[in-house]
Amino acid sequence: MFAYRNSAYEEDPDYPDYSGSQNHTQRYLKSPGPLNNSDEPSTRSNPYPAESRTSPDYLGSLAEPDYPGCQSNPDYPGTTSHPYSAGTDYPKPLAEPEYIGSRRNPYQPGSSGEPDYSQFQQNPDFPGSKGSGNYTGSRINPDYLDSLGEPDYPGAQENLNSSGPRASSNHPGSRRNPEHASPRVKAYTDSLGEPDYPGAESQSNHPHFFGEPDYLGAEDHRNSPNFWGEPDYPGAENGHDYGSSEDPEMARQMLSRTSSVQPSFHHEGVGPLGILGREDVDYPESIEMKSVGMANPYPGAPGNGYVNPAYVGDEGPGPAYGDPPLSGHDWLSSPQGQKLIESLITMTSRDRIKAIRNQPRTMEEKRNLRKMVDKEKSKKSRRILELNCCAQCLNSISLAYRRFKNNLSELLNSISLWQKTLKVIGGKFGTSVLSYFNFLRWLLKFNIFSFIVTFSFIIIPQLTVMEKNHLQFTGLEFLTGAGYFTNTVMYYGFYTNSTIQHDNSGASYNMQLAYIFTIGGCLVVCFFSLLFSMARYFRNNFINPHIYSRGIAKLIFCWDFTVTHESAVKLKQKNLSTEIRENLSEILQENVKLTFNQQFIRFSAHVAAWVVSSGVAITCCAAVYYLAENNLQFLANHSNPGAVLLLPFVVSCINLVVPRFYSMFRLVERYEMPRHEVYTLLIRNIFLKISIIGILCYYWLNTVALNSEECWETLIGQEIYRLLLMDFVFSLADSLLGEFLRRIIGMRLITSLGLQEFDIARNVLELIYAQTLVWIGTFFCPLLPFIQMITLFIMFYVKNISLMMNFQPPSKAWRASQMMTFFIFLLFFPSFTGVLCTLAITIWRLKPSADCGPFRGLSFFIESIYRWINTLNQTPSYLWVVWIYQNLIGSVHFFFILTLIVLIITYLYWQITEGRKIMIRLLHEQIINEGKDKMFLIDKLIKLQGMEKRANPTLFTLERRDLEQWGPQRVRQHDAPRDLRFRQSFQEDNPKA
């Protein structure tokens, strides 16, 4: 950055002085009067900078709280512009007489010579000197920053914007700069780096500065960087150079300096004697400085050396500050940065962190940004909060809460399961296959949660009052779920209906209520987490669903960065190129219309496929229904305990065979887009599976529950257990045997088939099917989530192994995330809502079995709640629960009104969405129009430029010079694309480029 700016200086035609020392001296000579020169050095000789940097007292004084107070005074800028007042006001709080003295000294020579001029000259110095103090102080003292309206570090000036202003005339800006920010250094630079300072321009600009008490002006900021190019180092370097020559002067000085790091500065400028010697001494100095600046292509180094201490002293971690990448600060103090900071301050801490995090900046910049915002914030809040103890208290509570939440989320993240395995899968098979495993993991978490809840609220209390199990354990129970398991905590029938109370004095635990509330709570949590994750997915993936394009652009820009495996990358690249080719040919042939005949054939194929698939599904359902109807008689006739496995076996067979049959339809149907094919397949499969489950539920609730004499809830629980287990066994066998066989066939026998691809849709549907069963079964068999947990765990590894052995990565780009959304939607809509309906019917309509389970003896399950409310009615302290129940939960009117309100809100939102759609369309059109405008204007500009060039060649040369200025920057930016991050704004400033 430094280097870059520096060179810009050198090449900058606007800065003839820089090009050579000779030039520079000439300028001096030409400049209005020798006094100018004398003044300039005086600026340099300003004691403050040296002091501030070196003397600890000074810093200390700056750090004093009072001090900022006077600084924050709005007049402050004004005071800076008047050296006198500044001289008096400022040093006072410092209580350092030397300062005052030193201040005056430079002033006097100025006044004696050319009053106005010197004033102007010194102005920058003064503020500079003051600024130097402030500058160091500013880090300690946030108030100061405020008062300036520009919190920032000197570095800030180095902005990307700098480039912009450079193109324009920088001089005025430069002069203003010192006053703006980081004045200390700037003062130096001005005087040192710009000997032509005294030029007329400077004067004209000063008034500007005066008129601008705030530093907020964007231009000022932008200009500043120029100076920044060589801010400190000349000073630092010069210190050495001068030291010897100035020594005598120093001796003459009345001022007592504690430090003499850069004594030369003071002496020259301060003492009246300095004026005498000025002409001799200063010229060479300034020249020397220049040469130093130019000779050193990376002045950053010396500059840092110089700047660093101050920074480091102020803020611990500081290295970032002194480093060349000061650009970060520049950005912060740029108008955009300021705006950002202002907006950040008003946010809550959480939003702020989020906002900072989302900034496309480097870490350092973000860190600085946060630090600054915190500083501003704390300073602001200090004023308010100091009085307000209550707010402070709240603040600390919120802080503690945040910390706790952070820790909790860290803890949760640390349990992230299978991180490595998922990484490997993603690396080899890409995101689409990964989504299946993610879904599996998500379901696993769900089940773990359900298990924890049921275990702690139902199972543990039951275990404490467990009776002895007299049934024999044979081992077949693992398959059938009956026998020994019937009398365990696994099934509904085993639970007691009594109130558990271990000592007479201890708290009692009503099992009935615990059972119904735990299951209910579990379902409610599942409901909301499903809803929220579904909403999140929808928000992310269907932001703008109505503008789908065929999207070759998406193919190109959506390279899967998760894929890391070498062969996978190669395969993916190959697949991508074929896909792009297909896409291109499709685009080329887009206009080719199918003949009526072809269309008819295609249409009839679809119809036939749908008819056949629905027919198959209906047949399957009918088969399951009759089998189930006859199942009870069949069981009565067969004493073999394995007979109960017939129904689950048939169901699992259907689930295994029919989806494969469905997927064969694609040979007939020939969908144009793979997405359509996947959706059709999904719809058919989900229709099949859900209707089978529906038939089974009907059978359970209608036949088993009404006819059975025994504990029918336990029977249903066993059925579900068997279904689940059979399904698990089948998919295990399918993974280990079926897929393996398929590989053997594909590789050895029919090589044209090749390796198969992982069928995500079918596998996900299997998961959904199993999860549906688990949700239904949780009521009848509270341990079911635990069983599902184990099966999912095993499935993960089995699928993983099978995937690695038998499959190849998918050849088509797959809309994985939209599919994921769709899966979760399926899990929610037919599956979870179906479960809710089933359970609602069970609880409100069915009579619990008379001699088992927690609800024995009641006429409905829900009656337990009614009784509880009645008992609560007797205890006056719980009347509010009763009130809530009667007026909200139990009241039809409440629900009626609620539904009405929800419907109204939904309708309103729908209308808003419609409106937004129109708005989006309009905005899109506007973008297109603006683009056209831009092109038109650019054309016109080019034409005008051409004409101007012909008419006025000198103007053109000027213009070219401007462009040349740009040239080196560009080159440099290629060398140093760190700037790249800022280029956007850079471009905005200069559309010409």
Partner: protein
């Protein structure tokens, strides 16, 4: 401590040292926490990954904030990036000077942006930078050609590549200036829901 470190073989002792330092370190890194999408633990893990890239270059003790850069050759050889066709661009975009040499901050930055938690706009911004090969803040036809060549390993013919570029510009160039600006790119990314999950490097 550094003396001790230099004296012994890195593997065993470094781990022990790492433990001892980790407390201080984690306090140090925790200030990075709010600037990235990582937890403290993940930052530590990333730090060790970084340290492992160049054990002799990167000190284990980062409390003094040494100014260390790991050269691109080592960054590019990470298994996460090794086979990525855009690895060089990624390293360039996130490195400070655009040369691919990365400091720890750059390194954290990179993985933070590529993490799961980073929002779409942030990802899109950096993706744009990555695809903008000539750093001119626009994705022009030349950039697109580069991208396509990298993506397809040069399997497509020149005509096909230029046809693709034409189509892409056709599709995504909102203001019809013949190149994609950041806004165009973001707009297009909005329509590609998979982007969020594919612009992601697991660590």
């Amino acid at each position: 401590m550094s003396l001790l470190y230099h004296m012994t073989s890195p593997s065993v002792l470094s781990r022990i040292l790492a433990r001892s330092i980790s407390l201080r370190q984690s306090a140090l890194f925790s200030k990075n926490k709010d600037c990235t999408f990582f937890t403290r633990k993940e930052i530590m893990r990333l730090f060790y990954r970084y340290q492992d890239l160049a054990p002799q270059l990167v000190p284990l003790d980062y409390t003094s904030c040494p100014d260390v850069k790991v050269p691109y050759e080592l960054i590019g050889s990470m298994p996460e990036l090794k086979d990525n066709p855009f690895r060089q661009r990624i390293a360039q975009v996130f490195s400070e000077d655009g040369d691919g040499h990365m400091t720890l901050d750059n390194f954290l930055d990179m993985f933070s942006v590529m993490s799961e938690m980073a929002p779409r706009d942030l990802k899109a911004y950096y993706a744009f930078k990555i695809y903008d090969f000539n750093n001119d803040d626009y994705i022009c036809a030349w950039d697109l050609e580069q991208t396509v060549t990298k993506l397809t390993r040069g399997e497509l013919s020149t005509e096909e590549v230029s046809l693709i570029c034409e189509k892409v510009l056709d599709e995504a160039d909102g203001d019809h200036d013949g190149r994609l600006s950041l806004e165009d790119f973001q707009n297009m990314i909005l329509r590609a829901p998979d982007f969020l999950s594919t612009f992601h490097i697991r660590i």
